[in-house]
């Protein structure tokens, strides 16, 4: 029942927001998101760390096709549901400085998006998963296409067609599996069973169908061309949703569907996937180093990070998957913080160009501290949240193949280069005409950044809160994969 | 169903003969006939009267309407012949069906009249 509440609450709040006018919208949205956060926190602490799915409900939805409305939270879902409930309040809070046109629609779309995301992460029926997967696309499309930058229509359309193209392949694979199930059931666990009946070539087909869908969503090299443009053109709240949470739909899909359903496919083609992921890490990092636009730089850094997560997942061992889970959480938090800082700088200076910025530190001790903490988290310094994930991921990839692990390890060095460059170019150095008289943080800005910075450190010191919750579920998943 | 495709051979022969006759006569007339051109010979044939005006003058659409209505009702009447021939065998059922048919036809006729298609001057 709790899961259902987590899905329905944002929808109801979204409808409520839609019916209000003017300033009230953001307040209602924030309150709803905070209530959702409280529920999410309750879920996290009430969760019994074992492999079972908890707080679930199941209704017959489309009886003739055997499709059920079945949701529940297991260890893997828990991490991502926590991420979603945690990050959305920050996203809403980060928009408090802006006065968007048609604000009520804007905030209701964010809340609908949240409902869809929670749905994706908790769905236990494959088609339900697919519906939520697609349903999240509509709000983010409109958020980006209505409130985005100059080039928004073209860019967001590319994004939309690209992702739909991918998810149609997923649909193809799901229908294929569903027909092969003996009882025409589409529960994900039933699909796990069915996968045992398929031979290597059939699993290869399914592998590629899923891979294309999720690789486009994350995105992995070479399916990433929509990503930098969309991140740059979308309003910052949209970019946060995209990179903070939506990207994790892809990695979650890999863990939940691809690995256990097509283990033979992974055996045959997994190396290709890992290689693509690692190419993405290096490629993304190198491009990030050369970026002049702050938002674009973070977009490419996110592309590089997700490559490492995918590599860890495809190495399909405990460390790799555990690492990717905690890294999803950490990356979601960090990237929202980074984009928010970019938004603050852009609002004050009207520029995101690194070359025209500099010397902001002189007037802004608070912003500097927060920026550096979040940056260090992103660079994966020990005792920050990024470190645990990256360490486990690299360990996982290393176990899979030492050479690949070594190349993937470049991410630490390259990541440090572009992140330090970002901070150094924008914050330090001499002040320019644009950054003169830069005001330090206001109240809502502090209220957003402080918890993020605290989370960066807390999760870095005590990652076991997360790791313990997900470990039984991951172990069970691995036993299914290796059966 | 005792026929074999080879039994249809005479039909093919017939078709072949028909086609050959047409082609042959056309080619033959071209070869044999003398060709003498003069103004009178090349003129449009108009029953011996001198032709007047353009052949492509527009004609009132009413002519077509009347013509097509004639054809329509004329053709429908043809259905009465087989019914009349088999009047006794078809019996009352046939009679009733014919009444339905005729009333539909009558409805159409009334419609045509009411529409004023047959009013020449309007």
């Amino acid at each position: 029942m709790l899961t259902l509440t987590l899905i329905l609450l944002p929808i109801i709040a979204g409808l409520l927001t839609l019916s209000t006018k003017g300033e009230n919208a953001k307040v209602i949205a924030l309150v709803a998101a905070l209530v959702e956060l409280a529920l999410g926190a309750y879920t996290f602490f009430a969760f019994v760390p074992d492999a079972t799915s908890q707080f679930g409900v199941s209704y017959n939805w489309i009886a003739s096709a055997g499709i059920k409305f079945s949701v529940g939270i297991d260890g893997i879902s828990l991490i991502l549901v926590s991420l979603t409930t945690l990050v959305v309040p920050f996203i809403i809070l980060s928009t408090f400085q802006n006065n968007y046109e048609k604000a009520s629609i804007f905030y209701s779309l964010i809340l609908f998006m949240q409902a869809g995301l929670v749905g994706v992460f908790t769905a236990k029926d494959a088609f339900l998963f697919y519906f939520f997967f697609e349903a999240t696309l509509i709000p983010i499309y409109f958020i980006a296409a209505i409130w985005g930058g100059e080039n928004r229509i073209k860019v967001t359309f590319k994004f939309f067609v690209y992702t739909i193209f991918g998810s149609l392949f997923m649909l193809l694979a799901l229908v294929y599996l569903y027909i092969k199930t003996p009882t025409h059931s589409s529960e994900i666990t039933a699909l796990y069973e069915t996968a045992r009946l398929l031979d290597a070539s059939q699993q290869g087909f399914i592998f590629w169908a899923f891979f294309i869908a999720f690789a486009i969503k994350m995105p992995l090299f070479p399916f990433h061309t929509w990503q930098p443009d969309t991140y740059v053109e979308a309003p910052t709240a949209g970019t946060m949703l995209l990179s903070g949470i939506m990207l994790k739909m892809g990695t979650y899909g890999l863990i939940r569907l691809l690995l256990p359903i097509a283990p033979l496919g992974v055996k045959a083609w997994g190396t290709v996937a890992v290689v693509l992921a690692i190419v993405g890490i290096v490629y993304g990092s190198i491009i990030a180093i050369q970026q002049k636009d702050m938002k674009r730089l973070i977009a490419y850094s996110s592309f590089a990070h997700v490559g490492l997560m995918a590599a860890g997942i495809f190495s399909s061992n405990l460390d790799g998957i555990q690492g990717s889970l905690i890294q999803m959480l950490a990356h979601g938090i960090n990237v929202v913080g980074l984009f928010f800082i970019v938004e603050i700088i852009q609002q004050r200076t009207k520029s995101r160009e690194l070359s025209s910025l500099g010397g902001i530190t002189q007037t802004t001790p608070q912003l500097t501290v927060f920026f550096i903490i979040i940056m260090l988290g992103s660079v994966a310094l020990p005792l920050t949240n990024g470190f645990v994930g990256e360490f486990l991921l690299l360990k996982g990839v290393f176990e899979y193949n030492a050479w690949m692990g070594a190349v993937a390890g470049l991410t630490i060095i390259l990541g440090a280069v572009y992140m330090l460059r970002l901070v150094q170019k924008s914050m330090f150095g001499t002040t320019t005409s644009l950054t003169e008289g830069f005001e330090d943080l206001g109240l809502t800005e502090r209220a957003t950044l402080l918890p993020i910075a605290v989370l960066v450190i807390v999760l870095g010191i005590a990652p076991n809160i997360i790791l313990k919750a997900s470990e039984p579920a991951v172990s069970q998943l691995l036993s299914i994969i290796n059966k | 169903m005792n026929y074999q495709p080879s039994d249809y051979l005479p039909i093919i022969v017939q078709i072949g003969a028909a086609l050959a006759f047409i082609v042959l006569t056309m080619v033959a007339t071209h070869w044999l006939g003398p060709k003498r051109h003069s103004k009178a010979k090349d003129d449009v044939f108009e029953c011996g009267i001198e032709s007047v005006g353009n052949a492509r003058t527009p004609i009132s659409v009413k002519y077509f309407l009347v013509a097509i209505l004639f054809v329509l009702f004329d053709v429908e009447i043809i259905f009465m012949y087989p019914w009349a021939v088999n009047f006794k065998t078809l019996g009352w059922d046939g009679f009733l069906e014919m009444i339905v048919f005729m009333s539909l036809l009558l409805a159409g006729f009334i419609y045509v009249l009411k529409k004023g298609v047959l009013d020449w001057e309007k």
Binding site: A65, A135, I153, F157, F165, V175 | Y111
Partner: protein
């Protein structure tokens, strides 16, 4: 089969209602007629009857198809707005009458038991459509469309008639079950055993050509864009829903009852035709500047999706075709309804503007119309939680139910083409929501608005709970 008789009489009644000099009565009267026919049609539910000396046969499948046809007709009639107030140039009584006659033809096409009735049904439907296509007499494109449709259509029916003759020659029967039995018994597959095989083959292929022409499957689709574009929008809506449904139903009925034994003969060409239809319909639609023409090409592509399940011939094919036809019909009618009012409001020098740009900024002053348009486009594109999604879903499920691995390829083609479809179905949505335009608020009559609410609600409802109708089908 009382629906056929009733509709014929109602059609005549409509013609005479025209003499009342009261145009307002025609629309409600026609709507009532269609609803009565709907009721009569349902009266035969759960029975199998032969009618008119085994000429027609009704069963639940044919009743379902008839119901879809009648629902689509009722919706089209409801958005016809009485064909305007132009006393001199429009003849609403005749239009409604002819519309009902053509529905009679459509019903015959889905209930035929004898190939005679298939032919007669197609002719009744087609002749009526030729007239209606050209009903906008002062519009050159409408005239051209009618002539084109007439020439091509009569040619196609001629070819089909020849096919029927050949099939009769080979099997000695016009009855579809009789033909099926003959094909089974006489071992026509084997030319060595039965020299009539080639005659049958030729016949099947020619009938096939005629039917594929009617549902505008490639490569017999050339007439479609011009005719759909040239005909008045209201009749285009009718053609792309009722005529298409009837055509697919007739094709399916014939192939599944008479010729399952020679699947190899028509199955292989149909694979290519299906892929070609999907390909041509979708790719060409991308390049259209006119919304109406885009819908014409989209209707070609939907014929392709429907053919997939005809090909797969699984036990669920019946319900998949029915569901898809229903979902497609209501979404298409909504799209045309929006197109009609918007293009009229945007008309330039008397000509309605049917391009995508006419929709620019629709959402600003007409949020309702924009929403209706969006839902119908999403449904046609097959986005989840609309009826169109489940239509596609059932079709893919059918394709995979067939053991032949060929269907994997077809499904991949269909998926790729669906992506292309999303590209062009989003053009109107983008125009309506994201582009700027100066369209005033459009006033809608109550019945028009009600129809749009019904189609939109039905599209969403069937997208959330497809079982509502799927259990009936």
């Amino acid at each position: 089969m009382n629906a056929i008789i009733a509709l014929s009489l109602f059609g005549i009644t409509n013609l005479f209602l025209g003499f009342l000099n009261n145009r307002k009565i025609l629309l409600p009267a026609t709507l009532l007629f269609v609803l009565i026919a709907f009721g009569l049609n349902l009266a035969d539910w759960n029975h199998e009857y032969y009618w008119f000396h085994n000429m027609l046969k009704t069963n639940n499948l044919s009743i379902n198809f008839t119901s879809i046809i009648l629902v689509a007709t009722a919706l089209v009639v409801a958005i016809s707005r009485g064909f305007g107030n132009d006393e001199e140039h429009t003849h609403p009584a005749e239009y409604y009458g002819i519309l009902l006659f053509s529905v009679v033809g459509a019903i015959m096409m889905v209930t035929f038991q004898s190939l005679f009735m298939l032919f007669v049904g197609i002719e009744i439907l087609s002749v009526a459509m030729y007239v209606l296509t050209g009903s906008d007499k002062r519009n050159l494109r409408s005239n051209e469309a009618a002539l084109k449709y007439f020439l091509m259509g009569s040619f196609a029916t001629g070819i089909m008639l020849f096919g029927i003759a050949l099939v009769y020659g080979a099997t000695g029967s016009f009855d579809i079950n009789g033909i099926g039995n003959m094909v089974n018994q006489a071992k026509l597959q084997d030319i060595m055993l039965n020299p009539y095989g080639p005659i049958l083959y030729g016949g099947i292929i020619l009938i096939f050509v005629g039917l594929l022409f009617k549902i505008s499957a490639a490569p017999f689709h050339f007439w479609t864009p011009d005719v759909y574009d040239g005909a008045p929008s209201i009749f285009t809506a009718f053609m792309s829903t009722v005529v298409k449904t009837a055509g697919v139903a007739a094709t399916y009925r014939l192939l599944s009852i008479s010729f399952p034994a020679v699947y190899g003969l028509w199955g292989n060409p149909l694979v290519y035709i299906t892929c070609l239809t999907l390909f041509i319909g979708n790719i060409t639609a991308v390049y259209q500047q006119s919304f109406k023409r885009m819908l014409a090409y989209s209707s070609i592509s939907h014929a392709g999706y429907l053919l997939i399940t005809v090909l797969a011939k699984t036990p669920t094919t019946n319900s998949s075709i029915l569901f898809y036809s229903l979902a497609y019909s209501i979404a298409t009618i909504s799209a045309f309804a929006v197109l009609m009012v918007v293009s009229e409001a945007q008309s330039k020098s008397g000509k309605p503007d049917e391009s995508f740009t006419a929709l620019n900024g629709l959402a600003t002053n007409n949020p309702f119309l924009a929403f209706v348009l969006t839902v119908s486009m999403l449904s046609l594109a097959g986005i989840p939680l609309t009826a169109g999604f489940f239509g596609k879903f059932f079709i893919f499920a059918d394709a995979f139910s067939n053991v032949s691995s060929l269907f994997k390829t077809i499904a991949v083609v269909a998926i790729l083409m669906s992506t292309v479809g999303i590209y062009y179905y989003f053009k109107p949505i983008i125009a309506a929501y994201l582009k700027k335009g100066d369209l005033e608020k459009i006033e809608l009559s109550p019945i028009y608005k009600l129809t749009l609410i019904i189609t939109t609600a039905l599209t969403i409802l069937l997208g959330i709970a497809p079982d509502l109708v799927k259990n009936i089908f």
